[in-house]
């Protein structure tokens, strides 16, 4: 039993603090939204005059008449049951909106992330193995300039070049042609649903509409991953362990495998952060290409000063990011046992 615990304690402990982090996050969100100046009741009435009775009634219906302690506990209690309340403008439940919009945005981010990761892996090895090659010099300098050209600039340029000049991409409106119907909802992820329903027309329309936005995300964010991977590959390549492998006559693929295994953990550790960037980038790209998703919801909630919708939105985004961070930690710690929390204290 104790053996099992020493083996698995590191990730169980990491899992146990996850709800605590979520709670702290929920508290921060609650008070942040509370601090925001402005009166939600006035927003709701749209500037029309209200009698004091009407005003009090609206305040009570929003739950704002209760003492702050009651408001906080109701908010937390509802959040545990995944009930984030109803938008004060549209009246639609925040959770209902989130359950359709979150998969849409996450799918976009995950697609871009997968392509970026594969590209970074392939290009990273190319740059480190053939440092004098002209192609790898170009790639290395692009990676070094990571983040200099923001996603929305690339997006506007992409729309201009590929839609208005070359006509390779359709008009930047939506996820698929407006004449087509949405896929039957099974998983909530639109592309996966189209794939599952084997609707080839819809799928090809989606690919036509999505290759440019995904390409924009990849070009904007893959360099960050690549820059890091090149650096850690370089370090791993020059480490004693590599010299030992070469000296002991290991074959070339084995040496490369060993270099890659030692370089990966620090890159994967960055994945959580890059995923956060991707979600943020997806918000921008969704706006530019008029793709429905979290971005549209956030911008709407912000422009209408809808505090319930914003609170729910922030909680959901925060929770997703925290879960991704958790998964990333578990993967890095399994790849590199030295990164597990207990190990450092045991060693000194």
């Amino acid at each position: 039993m104790t053996h099992l615990w020493t083996r698995n304690g590191w990730w169980v402990r990491r899992l146990a603090v996850l709800p605590l982090h979520l709670l702290i996050f929920a508290l921060v969100v609650f008070f942040l939204v509370k601090l925001i100046p402005g009166d939600p009741v006035a927003v709701l009435s749209g500037g029309q005059p209200m009698t004091p009775e009407q005003y009090e009634a609206t305040r009570a219906s929003l739950g704002l008449a209760d003492p702050i302690w009651v408001q906080l506990t109701t908010f937390l209690g509802d959040a545990v049951r995944l009930d984030f309340g109803n938008s004060i403008i549209s009246g639609i439940g925040v959770m209902d909106e989130m359950s359709t919009r979150l998969p849409e945005t996450v799918e976009l981010a995950v697609m871009a992330m997968t392509i970026s990761a594969l590209l970074a892996l392939a290009l990273g090895f190319l740059v480190v193995l053939r440092p004098r090659n002209a192609v790898s010099r170009v790639i290395a300098s692009y990676a070094r300039a990571a983040g200099a050209v923001p996603d929305f600039c690339l997006g506007v340029a992409g729309v201009f070049v590929f839609y208005s000049v070359l006509h390779w991409a359709p008009a930047p409106i939506g996820r698929y042609a407006t004449s087509l119907n949405a896929p039957p909802r099974t998983t909530g992820f639109p592309f996966l649903d189209a794939l599952l329903s084997s609707d080839t027309v819809l799928m090809s329309s989606m690919i036509q509409h999505l290759w440019l936005p995904i390409g924009v995300l990849v070009v904007a964010y893959a360099p960050m991953l690549l820059k890091l991977f090149i650096r850690s590959l370089d370090q791993a390549k020059n480490a004693q362990a590599t010299r030992f492998r070469i000296a002991s006559g290991a074959s070339r693929p084995m040496v490369l495998l060993s270099v890659g295994r030692r370089a990966l953990p620090s890159t994967i550790a960055m994945f959580g952060t890059i995923f956060g960037f991707m979600v943020g980038g997806a918000v921008v790209v969704e706006q530019l290409f008029a793709i429905p998703g979290m971005g549209e919801y956030a911008v709407q909630a912000v422009t209408r000063a809808d505090f319930v919708a914003l609170r729910g939105f922030l909680l959901v985004v925060g929770a997703v990011s925290l879960i991704v961070f958790f998964l990333v930690d578990v993967v890095t710690m399994s790849l590199d046992p030295r990164r597990r929390p207990g190990v450092a204290t045991a060693g000194g």
Binding site: G147, C153, S164, V283, V302, L310
Partner: protein
């Protein structure tokens, strides 16, 4: 075996051969930018906030960069926006870096203490991690939406987004420095804890945040423009690159590239210029 191993002396040789004349060239773009920010509003041929001609004129003749969909001069607006964007970037960098160093120092020095102070420090340290879990553009979006878009509110919102990373960098360094022997030596020789922090911990642990400052500056400028692009930045007609790109985006989709391209180029050049300054100051390759 084509796996070329870098030897340490190759590194030092590269550093030694760097000539000061070439290095200072990297400062020229930044100097031009500062000049434009200061003199820009005087130099521009047209008013940057008024309709001056017919909309959607292509570049040439009177309007070097053309006019946008409202009929405002793109050249004048691109130049005039330099001041707004640089100002926000600069103040944000200074605030995020100095507050980040302060928080990093306090948290790092108190984190392993017992009692409420230690608990608070550990709580702040966790909270910094949590703020980083949410994409910066979303934090900015939320803060700006409610505090309204103005140069001070944008600066505060961006500081909140960019401060955690700076504080974390300093905290990690403080944790390393805290165990060094020279601190014990200073303590034994009678320095008070405050003097100790100011004289020894601060200079030895703030360098990662200072090195990162040029990156913070770049991020601040990109985020300002990003918020402008999403429609919650400085209100048009205030010249600002992000909102100019947003206004120009529908035009770019129908072939009128100029009103989005020029502010985008200005933005990219600025980020490059600033990272050039960062490399010059800190000798990172």
């Amino acid at each position: 075996m084509a796996l070329a191993l870098d030897t340490p002396d190759r590194d030092t040789r590269r550093r030694r051969t760097r000539r000061p004349g070439i290095a200072s060239v990297t400062l020229v773009p930044a100097a031009i930018l500062v000049l434009l920010a200061v003199l820009g509003p005087v130099l521009v041929p047209f008013s940057p906030i008024d309709v001056v001609d017919r909309p959607d004129l292509p570049p040439g003749g009177a309007h070097w960069f053309g006019t946008d969909s409202a009929g405002m001069d793109v050249f004048s607006r691109t130049i005039a926006a330099t001041r707004n964007n640089l100002l926000i970037g600069l103040i944000t960098t200074v605030l995020a870096t100095s507050l980040g160093i302060l928080i990093g120092l306090v948290v790092g020095m108190n984190e392993s203490r017992r009692g409420p102070v230690g608990t608070l420090a550990r709580g702040v340290s966790r909270a910094l991690d949590l703020v980083q879990a949410v994409p910066a553009i979303i934090i900015g979006l939320v803060l700006i939406a409610f505090f309204g878009a103005s140069i001070p509110s944008l600066t505060v919102a961006l500081t909140v987004c960019l401060l955690p990373n700076q504080a974390r960098l300093v905290r990690a360094e403080v944790l390393r420095v805290r165990g060094e022997a020279y601190l014990d030596a200073a303590r034994v020789s009678g320095d008070s804890e405050l003097v100790l922090i100011a004289k020894h911990v601060l200079p030895n642990s703030s360098w990662p945040a200072l090195e990162n400052a040029s990156l913070v500056f770049g991020s601040a400028i990109v985020l300002t423009a990003g918020l402008g692009f999403l429609g919650v930045g400085l209100h048009p007609p205030t010249p600002e690159w992000g909102s100019m790109i947003a206004i120009g985006a529908p035009g770019a989709a129908s072939g009128r590239w100029w009103s989005a391209l020029f502010p985008a180029v200005a933005l990219a050049l600025t980020v490059f210029a600033v990272s050039g300054v960062g490399r010059r100051l800190f000798g990172d390759d």
